[in-house]
Symmetry: C2
Subunit: 155 residues, 2 copies
C-alpha cells in the first residue's frame, strides 16, 4: 500500500512512532489531508473530504486522531472556528515554544481563507504591562487576526 507523504506528515508520523503510537492508515490519511490544506479543517470536514476521495474513515476515529495530534503539538486549533491546522515545520521551533507557552497567533485571510501562524514579538511585553497594571497573572493567550493577506491585499 502506498501513500504520498510529504514533509509534515513524515515528521508527524515519526514523532508519533517515537512516542510509541502505532502507524495506522487512518492516522496517515488525516496527516496527509492536513498537509494538503492551508485553510484549516474541522474533524467533520476531514471526514467528508476523505470520503469524497474514496477513503472511508469513521468520524469518531478522526476525533480521536486529532486528540492525539493536539496532545503532541502536531496540530493547532483555531479558537474562532475550532478548525485544525498543521503545525508548520518551518515554524517548528517557534511553534514548540509557542505551544509550551500556551500562546497561539494566527492570521486568517478573509478573502482567500489561508491561515498563517504569525510571530508577534512585542506582544509579550504588552501583556507584561497589562499584568502589572491589573495585578493579574496571564498563563495563556490567543490572538486571532483577520484581514487580507499580502496577495489578496495587493491584488
Amino acid at each position: 500500500m502506498w501513500f504520498i507523504v510529504g514533509h509534515y506528515a513524515t515528521h508527524a508520523l515519526a514523532v508519533l512512532k517515537e512516542k510509541g503510537y502505532r502507524i495506522t492508515k487512518p492516522r496517515r490519511l488525516v496527516l496527509e489531508l492536513l498537509e494538503r490544506t492551508a485553510e484549516g479543517l474541522s474533524p467533520y470536514e476531514m471526514g467528508d473530504l476523505l470520503r469524497e476521495n474514496g477513503q472511508e474513515i469513521d468520524t469518531v476515529s478522526i476525533y480521536r486522531i486529532i486528540e492525539t495530534l493536539e496532545k503532541h503539538h502536531l496540530v493547532h486549533r483555531l479558537l474562532g472556528s475550532g478548525k485544525l491546522l498543521k503545525c508548520h515545520l518551518e515554524d517548528e521551533s517557534h511553534c514548540e515554544k509557542a505551544q509550551h507557552d500556551h500562546c497561539h497567533h494566527f492570521f486568517i485571510c478573509t478573502a482567500c481563507g489561508a491561515i498563517q501562524e504569525v510571530h508577534c514579538p512585542n506582544l509579550q511585553e504588552v501583556l507584561a504591562v497589562l499584568e502589572a497594571a491589573q495585578g493579574i497573572h496571564i498563563t495563556e493567550h490567543s490572538l486571532e487576526l483577520r484581514g487580507q493577506c499580502r496577495a489578496c491585499y495587493v491584488g
Copy 2:
C-alpha cells in the same frame, strides 16, 4: 408584570427600542440574565437557567435574541467558548470603539471563571508593526487571555 431591571438591561432595552425593536418578555429575560452573570453564557445555557427559574423561553428564540443583541453590539461573544457576555456599561466608550474596530480583548480567570474586558493600549502598535512587516491588512483582531485574576492570584 414586573421585572427587576438594572443598568445594563435598561440601557440595552432603550437601545433596542430606539432602533425600532419591540420590547418583549423574552428579550427582557435574556437581558436580565446577562446582567446577573459575569461568566458568560451560551444560548443553550441561558435557556436552561431561565427554565430552572420557571421562565419558559424557547431556545430558538434565545438564539434569535442573541443575534439581534450582537448586531447592535450589546453582547460580546468569546472566541474560545462561544459564550456570550454583556457589554459592560462602564466600558461603553471603549466597547463601542472596540466593536467598531472589530477588536475584542478578554481576560478569563481559570480559577473563578470571571471574565473581564481588558484594555490593551499598545496592541494596536504591535499589530501595525506586524502589518508593515508582513504586507498584510488587519481588519479585526481578538485577544483572549487566560490566567488568574487579582483576587485569585493573591489569594
